[in-house]
């Protein structure tokens, strides 16, 4: 097979925009006592940056700080107020 033309083709990768966690000014922190493992935060994360909770394994949600941009949707949507946005400077 002959080589095709050099054209603007990209392939999928994680971190296409780099470590987008660096954009963050505030980071979400979850209170393990309050998390009810409902995964609503996971659902509403535009950055795919939440590892979902597993009720059966008694695992709460976890943030991927490498990519979380700190938008705060998770904190405002959490029905049990288990997520707080904490300044990165603190």
């Amino acid at each position: 097979m002959t080589k095709g033309p050099s054209s603007p083709i990209l392939f999928p990768i994680e971190g296409a925009a780099g470590r987008t966690g660096d954009w963050r000014t505030h980071k979400p922190v979850v209170d393990p006592e309050l998390c009810i493992k409902c995964n609503i935060c996971w659902k509403f994360c535009p950055d795919n940056a939440i590892y979902r909770a597993d009720k059966e394994k008694d695992q709460i949600i976890k943030f991927d700080y490498e990519y979380c941009k700190g938008c705060g949707i998770c904190a405002s949507e959490c029905p049990s107020k288990a997520i707080k946005m904490v300044s990165e400077d603190e």
Partner: protein
């Protein structure tokens, strides 16, 4: 292999649609515009009659006509459309997108002047405006060449090492609507010449999650454009090869595929032009020779890629060029003349060049006018 001859009378547009029919494109996406319309009308008829197994997309604009072909080309199938004049302009961003995107689309342009004022007649202003779009441009001189060039265009465009769209150009009405004899090979022989499009330049599918045409930095951008430039260079050889192969298959050639010389190898004056004016110029050469004047002709068949080496080689041994343009780059001169002057200068050839603009707005250019222009040029020769 020389195939059986089969002389038929047909218009230039019919010749183009026969060539497209025989090449068996899988998707035709088209929009009407005079004087191109009868090409795609015929194809829609072939599709409806079951003679052509293809999807015919009846789009709402030329912008979409080419976009439809682009979608098909990205999907790895052979695709065809045709347009003219304002239609070509309306497609503009997709013309560049498909050229720079390396999509092997074949799109005859039936040359017609640009408004205002309205005129449906021929000049080359439309396709000349797209010489920088990354398309192969071949200007034909008669109905036979239209058929042959459309067939060749699929081979050139779909060659993976080239991967550029092709624009076979034919003069409106003078070719498109004028009936002339065409030696029409059988559908089978024609398809054998073109071949299957089996190793696509590009092919999008769910198994290959690549992203085409997203954001790129200057480095990748320049790499792609450099490859485009090199592909144009490779296309020159391909066009020459296609010309030879056409000769082997059908017993016809057009010069060396890039340029075509008529008359003596060396003369006092060389008429240079494209399209049907170049055909008419042959009669002018004959007439002038009868009068004892030394005149020959060079027809530039392939305008993109520009055949620098061939033009320079021929110009070098001749004394003076009279370049007839059927289009103008306003604020400068006729495009063909500009480019010829550039290659002569670059190659330090001092053959003098005189330019004439003729045939704008469909003005008739009979050989007598060319004879008069040639005589004038001969008189002013130092």
């Amino acid at each position: 292999m020389v195939v059986k001859h089969n002389k038929k009378s047909m218009t230039g547009n019919d010749a183009a649609s026969y060539a497209a029919l025989f090449a068996k494109p899988k998707v035709v996406s088209a929009y009407p515009i005079t004087p191109q319309t009868t090409i795609i009308e015929k194809l829609s008829q072939y599709v409806d009659e079951g003679k052509l197994d293809a999807e015919f997309i009846i789009v709402e604009s030329e912008h979409s006509a080419l976009a439809g072909c682009m979608g098909a080309a990205w999907s790895g199938v052979r695709t065809f459309t045709a347009t003219s004049s304002q239609g070509l302009l309306y497609m503009a961003e997709n013309v560049f997108w498909s050229g720079y995107g390396r999509l092997p689309i074949v799109m005859p342009v039936v040359n017609r002047c640009l408004a205002p004022g309205w005129s449906i007649y021929q000049d080359l202003q439309d396709s000349m405006a797209f010489r920088d779009a990354g398309w192969i441009q071949i200007y034909t001189k008669n109905n036979q060449e239209v058929f042959d060039t459309v067939l060749q265009a699929f081979r050139i465009s779909e060659d993976k090492s080239i991967a550029l769209p092709s624009m076979p150009c034919l003069d409106g009405f003078v070719i498109s609507h004028t009936t002339a004899q065409v030696d029409l090979p059988s559908a089978e022989d024609s398809f054998n010449f073109v071949g299957e499009y089996s190793d696509p330049v590009i092919e999008v599918d769910t198994e290959k999650p690549w992203i085409f045409g997203g954001l790129v930095g200057p480095e990748k951008f320049i790499k792609d454009r450099t490859d485009l430039m090199e592909a144009m260079e490779r296309a020159k050889k391909k066009i020459v090869d296609m010309n030879k192969e056409l000769g082997e298959y059908f017993g016809r050639t057009y010069g060396n595929g890039l340029i075509e010389i008529y008359g003596d190898d060396v003369a006092d004056l060389t008429i240079v032009s494209m399209g049907t004016i170049a055909d008419e110029a042959q009669d002018a050469v004959d007439k002038l020779k009868e009068e004892g004047l030394s005149v020959n002709e060079m027809r530039v068949r392939t305008f993109r890629p520009f055949p620098e080496e061939d033009i320079v080689e021929f110009a070098k041994k001749n004394h003076k060029l009279l370049v007839i343009d059927r289009s103008v780059s306003f604020g400068h001169a006729g495009q063909l003349r500009i480019e010829i002057e550039a290659v002569l200068h670059r190659n330090k050839v001092d053959t003098s060049v005189e330019g004439r603009i003729m045939g704008l707005g469909g003005e008739d250019v009979p050989y007598t006018k060319i004879v008069a222009a040639a005589k004038e040029a001969l008189r002013s020769r130092m």
